[in-house]
């Protein structure tokens, strides 16, 4: 699936953080992250108001402890569609 925006997703123990280029969105839940991504994209002015934007969030597996990575190599990726 093609995405208009690609973000890396991590969890710092308290919050999810989605980051890519100038967009940074933080939230305790993924729902909050999605809302903040929408705000950040709106503020960036890259996309016209009223447009529908597909956002890809790929979890950065480097944030999983090294000893655990040998068991599995993927956490999750997600796509969301936001209306600006």
């Amino acid at each position: 699936m093609k995405a208009d925006v690609e973000l890396n997703l991590v969890h710092d123990g308290d919050n999810w953080i989605a980051r890519g280029g100038e967009v940074v969105a933080v939230g305790e839940t993924l729902h909050e992250v999605d809302e903040n991504v929408t705000h950040a994209l709106r503020d960036s002015g890259v996309f016209p108001s009223g447009s529908s934007v597909t956002v890809f969030m790929g979890f950065d597996f480097d944030t999983i402890p090294t000893w655990l990575r040998q068991y599995h190599a993927h956490y999750f990726n997600r796509y969301i569609t936001v209306n600006l």
Binding site: D62, A73, I80
Partner: protein, 554 residues
């Protein structure tokens, strides 16, 4: 730089899963060259069964080790035991360090840790091959002890010893195959003439299983009593990488075994798939319901724990947590629990199954695959069970089951479980996104998630297996030449990777981590031993009962 799986090729250079495929296939193709008369794997060292009295009287590395060369690689014989061990060390250290570099491990620490683990492994392997621990009695000593005595042991495969003694008797004019019976003096003279038969006053007759248990014990002692040293080794202790590489090599073994018993191998694979599917449908809902109703766990914790206990341990708990978008700390905590419990299963279950059901080898192997979590612990438990049951059966009946079929049953069920993880995680992701979170118009779950969670080492395993089946079907004249190089890869190389796994899995297991896990530990223990193990055994019996390993030829 971040590691995000985006393209289908992502991970090919930096995950241990793919590196198991590369290490596996490098040696697989190297072994195949004997088809054209070239042996480039014959430097691999292999252990010999030795007796301490004889070693003491004339010490030599060549009594402990030798190069595993094929007929085409006679030049490697000149390396001797120590030389072949050093070449083995150099080759595998180089390959694994290259893999460690691409996996973004600390290569210096990996090199130091791997070097220590390598030599600890070989020390345990050599000690485990001392004849008093390992050697089995010869067939004659079991079935005709009144003539041959009950103290004749064999330092190679027992069928070979029996054949050597019978040949020596024939040279004396006594044809036992025609029903002639030697006198005690003639029998004693034949035993003396046999190259691999020795007399010993005692012997534990544990087969190769003793080396595995010794390696595991050494690893556990380091992991739990020498924690500073364990931390030093940790970067080089990669049991999942080692065992997945070994499983690719096992694909070669299964290919060779399939040449002789194609129907049985296929039946084993299909029965394993069916049993795994049925067990899946029972395990997960029961454990999930227990977590929610009895232990009052949150929905996400219960789902992650259910997958960890009932499917395939750590990888399933990570896959499930990712699928339901749980915070990463949850699968990390559950994984610590799984690794420790897998070790308890590995220590307890082989002995238990071998004692309780000595006449159900394949059922035991399949049940092991469905019960023991993590690939490393399952393969290790399967290997111990295989050695233990083959040796026990021989001791009690004088009949030799072909080795590695019980191990294959354990591995095949586990491989199907691994394959299903990606599909199950995808289903869970759909349920979570479209039912639990109820935002179907806003989120999408890519089908690529299945591929990213697919265990890649399985590809290497099936390539190796099917390649040899193809040789048997289309190029039957090449079987003998192909088996020559394959024998080196699937036997000493594979067993070395198993032995490395035993030491490494012990090193990373710290039982102290169970402290403070509270309800999760109690639920895990109850679910594992009261739900998973009994159901797995029943399901394994339904699909595998009546299946027996072929008898060893020779």
């Amino acid at each position: 730089m971040a590691t995000v799986n985006r393209k289908w090729t992502d991970g090919m250079l930096h995950t241990e899963d793919w590196w198991a495929v590369w290490l596996g296939l490098i040696m697989f193709f190297a072994g195949l060259l004997t088809i054209w008369g070239v042996d480039i794997v014959g430097w691999m060292t292999k252990t010999k069964t030795w007796e301490w009295g004889k070693l003491w009287s004339d010490p030599s590395f060549n009594k402990l080790l030798s190069a595993a060369h094929s007929k085409e690689g006679q030049t490697y014989a000149g390396l001797g035991g120590l030389g072949s061990l050093l070449v083995t060390y150099v080759v595998f250290t180089t390959l694994t360090c290259i893999g460690a570099y691409f996996q973004k491990l600390d290569v210096k620490k990996f090199f130091m840790g791997f070097t220590c683990i390598f030599f600890i492994t070989w020390a345990a392997w050599i000690i485990g091959h001392e004849a008093h621990f390992k050697a089995l009695k010869t067939g004659q000593s079991i079935t005709q002890s009144e003539i041959y005595g009950d103290n004749v042991f064999c330092t190679t495969k027992v069928n070979k010893c029996s054949a050597q003694i019978n040949k020596a008797l024939k040279g004396m004019g006594i044809d036992v195959m025609a029903g002639q019976v030697p006198t005690k003096e003639q029998a004693a003279a034949a035993v003396d003439k046999s190259k691999n038969a020795i007399r010993m006053s005692w012997g534990w007759q544990l087969g190769g299983g003793f080396s595995y248990m010794l390696a595991l014990a050494v690893g556990l002692i380091i992991g739990n009593f020498f924690k500073g040293f364990a931390n030093f080794l940790r970067e080089g202790a990669k049991p999942e990488w080692f065992i997945k590489t070994a499983i690719v090599y096992l694909g070669i073994k299964l290919g060779l075994m399939s040449m002789k018993a194609t129907g049985f191998a296929l039946e084993l694979a299909l029965a394993g798939a069916a049993a795994t599917f049925v067990a899946y449908l029972l395990f997960w809902p029961i454990v999930y319901a227990m977590g929610r109703k009895i232990f009052k766990l949150r929905r996400d914790a219960s789902a992650v724990l259910s997958s960890g206990i009932s499917i395939c341990g750590v990888s399933a708990s990570i896959a499930t947590a990712g699928a339901i978008r749980a915070k990463p700390i949850l699968p990390i905590a559950v994984s610590m629990l799984i690794v420790v419990f897998a070790m308890i299963e590995l220590v307890a279950l082989p002995t238990f199954y071998a004692a309780v059901a000595p006449d159900q080898p394949i059922v035991n192997g399949a049940a092991m695959g469905m019960t023991v979590k993590t690939d490393g612990a399952d393969a290790a438990a399967g290997a111990i069970l295989d050695e233990m049951m083959v040796a026990n059966h021989y001791r009690t009946t004088g009949e030799t089951w072909e080795a590695d079929w019980i191990l294959s049953a354990a591995i095949l069920t586990k491989i199907w479980i691994d394959v299903f993880i990606g599909v199950w995680a995808f289903v869970l992701a759909l349920i979570w996104v479209y039912k639990v979170e109820r935002k179907p118009d806003q989120q999408h779950v890519g089908a690529s998630e299945i591929w990213f969670r697919f265990p890649k080492f399985v590809i290497g395993y099936f390539i190796a297996w099917l390649f040899y089946v193809a040789i048997a079907v289309w190029f039957p004249d090449a079987i003998k030449a192909a088996s020559s190089g394959a024998g080196v890869v699937q036997s000493p190389m594979r067993k070395m990777m198993f032995m490395l796994t035993f030491v490494a899995i012990g090193v990373i297991t710290d039982f102290a981590k169970l402290k403070g896990m509270g309800r999760l530990t109690v639920l895990y223990a109850i679910a594992l031993f009261a739900v998973i193990a009994p159901i797995a055994y029943v399901v394994a019996w339904i699909f595998h009962h009546g299946m027996m390993p072929p008898l060893a030829s020779g």
